[in-house]
Amino acid sequence: MRELGREIARDYEGKEPMLVAPLKASVVFAADLSRALPIPHELDFIELASYASGADTGGHGRIRLLKDLDAEIAGRNVLIVEDVIDTGLTLNYLCKTLSLRDPGSLAAATLLDRPYRRLVEDLPVRYVGFTVPDELFVGYGFDLQERYRNLPDLHVLQKS
């Protein structure tokens, strides 16, 4: 975390970045990253309806915002703070949506990365905590049906 914080601080010195964390899984990582970032910055949150919640009626819809950012981002240096990037579908949508608001710059930091599962390649992923194997994780914000987010460390989920 300290390494990521130092790297981001070096790149954003004097730019007062805005960290944008998609709820919910990234919230623990965002909180730790924010505290490890020794330069002035803002923190804001956004929430997207998951595919599962959007499709629970059996119908078919498009992704939508459940919670928008509180602040304007025009001209700001936005750093999206993701828990994990695999297919890149969510981040791609976020980047497209936030780009329409004319930020000064747009990049992403992720705690975990699974680049081998990418469907969308052209993403501004600038900071990666760990490239991980194809395992399911719980703890440190990651959940299994809303449980285990509170575990202080990351755990690999072993299925019986």
Partner: protein, 122 residues
């Protein structure tokens, strides 16, 4: 088995897609949900011809994502049974090195299913 064909919004093909299985349908729905333009089986790649020029082997990937310029083949076969498909993919890459194609294995689909709570039983 006849699969539902929802009113897709990011579909860029001409004819309504006719999915071979539920995993393909669910993948299409996920792509559509996230607004990623997609086509269904738009291209057949010839892999092998006989001496008279007749096609003896071809490969038609399930999806094409025009914004990514990426073909995606979805397979629900067990990992141990995908050898034939892997061989086709290898041939395609040899004959068409400029074509970007990705194979989504059963394991990848299961990961998607876990993440997005897809219904894949078919």
């Amino acid at each position: 088995m006849i699969l539902e064909t929802p009113d897709f919004q990011a579909y860029r093909g001409q004819e309504p897609p006719r999915f071979a299985n539920k995993a393909e349908l669910e993948c299409a729905k996920v792509l559509d949900y996230y607004g990623v333009p997609w086509e269904y089986e738009p291209t057949t790649f010839v892999l092998e011809e006989d001496e008279d020029g007749r096609v003896v082997e071809a490969f038609k990937p399930d999806f094409y994502l025009p914004e990514q310029d990426l073909y995606v083949e979805v397979t629900v076969m067990k990992q141990s049974l995908v050898t034939r498909k892997n061989r086709k993919l290898r041939k395609l890459r040899e004959r068409y090195p400029e074509v970007r194609v990705k194979l989504f294995y059963k394991r990848d689909i299961e990961r998607l299913a876990e993440r997005y709570q897809l219904e894949l039983a078919s």
